[in-house]
Symmetry: C3
Subunit: 304 residues, 3 copies
């Protein structure tokens, strides 16, 4: 593993190895002692579109390991605004730093960057395509909170048509054994056909529903909620109607056994009263991003 | 002390303890040796409105102690722009960092944040309400330059109606013994009545004047100057007239014994010729922000 | 050397001493071990206009040496937006940091700052005037790649009228012996007369041409290319014509012996096919900025 560009590049063994390393990192974090594992190393975070949370998660992971960070977020005022190409930016920054985290609006940008970089590239989102560290932290959360990924039963709720996060996690779950998937979404935001066809071809069990109330009768380990974005609806009234009905409330979930996950930020789709429940794991999930990203930074810098 | 939200939460003993710790920090700084007191710790600076000076002062304090910093200033492009609540932002960031410095335009924001944060919160300004580290560095400056706070005589000049800095310092001074206060301001920018009533109730000696020339006959230890803001005046001509007359010049102050303080930035209210005088302490006051903030960061992280 | 404001302030001996120190720094970098040479020191980067590449190069250099950085780039939202003067900003920041890197649109800003700063100032560009670390890294690149600066033959191509980089490097080269200069530019973007007069007065050999094809017959060690800026042309058609003809292609240079330098960012003036050639040194040149800036930071902080 020289770069981390796409979940499609890594197999089940590699995922499990990353999750194990992440667990070690979490234990180190809990000791609250300064670490010097990446002392003297520099991470460059290069964000061609803003994603403060992702950026800060990587920067925290690097600093927790004793490394340091340089940040290029003001891309509109930077050399690229003078017409510099992504390739040139990456070539220059790979002369400054030991590893680069790249966020870019265009699909394939991270792959292209990795072909010209002399240091490892981590893809922190390339348009609607890939954001592999999000998927890895989702898998870590499931494993950490449920104790397994094989044979997991997981319901996805919300916008299943456009959510990069959901598509990528569903793909990763198909690498594990005996997984059962439940897709609950408005009619217009159902899981894309190419993904469900792929699931069928692989013999993965899955169920579809357009009724959020079906949650009540569902026996799953995980409820994974995603945001429904206003931009997806031509008719604002339709958006308001759907949004209102796809809202997770305390009533709907408090007598269930599943944990609740969400990639955050959350807007209205999970009611604040849900936060008090033991099942609400989305803030822990966000925290787990730190040990997972520590593990990835360490792995890529050591294998270099 | 788990958080630092308001001067109203801390008593005279705690103030004196912070000032003593600050003095130790200043001595450590003067040795110019690397410190490792907060090695491995991470401060998150979260600025919902810009205040570069305050942010850099905290970041410097943290780095001088050997700690590190993550910065969220691009709030308009961050998750909050997608509708995320302050509470969610704080919950996520308290999973990343060991302590948070928060600046927010709304009164009460820091208090609210402290109720949801798993790490200490320092209020770096919540609207017109509180900015306690500014008050503590003002007190430190007085003590450091005059040698005492009890029995101090201090004149405030400028906008006394709207200045958060002045209101907070006046309140803190009332915790000390034998303080005498002089308020010199334009008629329309006098000290608010609730504050003067409070002073009367506490039996604190104070004097009011609308004439800057009264400075000439004043026997005080400290002259504290604040900016008169254009926005406060409906009539721009009135602003120009007042601004012109409330300007501290060399002539006005050079044969006096008081030191001159100002929270900075300064615009026109202190003439540049005053900078050369021994009495001008505003740049030292700004520097004193570093040891004071070091003391507070250390205290909050150690008591955790 | 207390500050680094202009190449005009330093002589040949001092340049050679910086280049030697830079070579040591490059060797240290190549060992890939954490350095503690500037541990506990803080650099403030203060950018009144954006230059992400220059800022990150300095920040990397400081962090490679084990030091830390505070950054003030959001100048429009900072105190200066409230009317604070450059002098006040510098006075405050020199109370926070151990050394300041300043970029400012106005000529002379760095010199002015140095008169009020209690810590060393490095000029990272003051309008069209000086950017001495760029010149030093250019000299370092020539020495590192050719093995000498004395008796060097160098051709400059592109906008020679407005390029601060070219003017400053030409001046620095005149301090060395036996230098031969070739100036190839469009008629309207020729080297300014005051510079060529100065060269004549000093007895430096130089040649002028308006024909890029003359490159073919040139026996030089270095080809230094600069960008032709659209803003310089009142007529956009004229710009397109000139730009097209002043483009370095593989055909034009592949059978020559010179190395190719460029201060970057590059837009169209060097074709991407040139990047594959051994001669293309512009990304190395950008990397060399790190050891050169490390040497300068170390020198200024040690001599303090």
């Amino acid at each position: 593993m020289k770069h981390l560009i796409s979940m499609r590049d890594i197999g089940k063994d590699e995922i499990i190895s990353i999750l194990k390393e992440s667990e070690k990192m979490e234990k180190l974090l809990n000791k609250k002692k300064p670490l010097k594992i990446l002392e003297g190393k520099i991470l460059a975070t290069v964000f061609f579109e803003p994603s403060t949370r992702t950026r800060l998660s990587f920067e925290t992971a690097m600093k927790r390991l004793g490394g340091d960070v340089i940040t290029m977020t003001d891309v509109k005022t930077a050399s690229t605004a003078k017409g510099e190409s992504l390739i040139d930016t990456i070539r220059v920054l790979s002369g400054y730093s030991d590893i680069i985290v790249l966020r870019h609006p265009n699909e394939g940008a991270a792959r292209l960057a990795s072909e010209y970089s002399s240091v490892p590239i981590i893809n922190a989102g390339d348009g609607s395509n890939q954001h592999p560290t999000q998927t890895l932290l989702d898998l870590y959360t499931i494993n950490r909170e449920i104790g397994k990924i094989d044979n997991i039963k997981i319901a996805f709720v919300g916008d299943l048509k456009y959510s990069r996060t959901v598509h990528s996690l569903v793909y990763a779950l198909t690498l594990f054994d005996g997984v059962k998937l439940y897709f609950i979404s408005p009619k217009d935001l159902e899981m894309p056909k190419d993904i469900t066809e792929d699931l069928k071809a692989k013999g993965i069990e899955f169920y579809k529903s357009n009724c959020i109330q079906d949650l009540k009768n569902l026996d799953v380990n995980v409820l994974y909620v995603t945001r429904i974005q206003k931009e997806r609806f031509p008719d604002p009234n339709e958006y308001e109607r759907v949004k209102g009905s796809y809202r997770i409330t305390k009533d709907l979930v408090e007598d269930k056994n599943f944990i609740i996950m969400h990639p955050l930020p959350r807007v209205d789709e999970i009611d604040y009263t849900v936060d008090m429940l033991e099942q609400a794991k989305y803030f822990k999930q966000s925290f787990y991003g730190i040990p997972v990203r520590m593990a990835i930074l360490k792995k890529l810098l050591e294998e270099e």
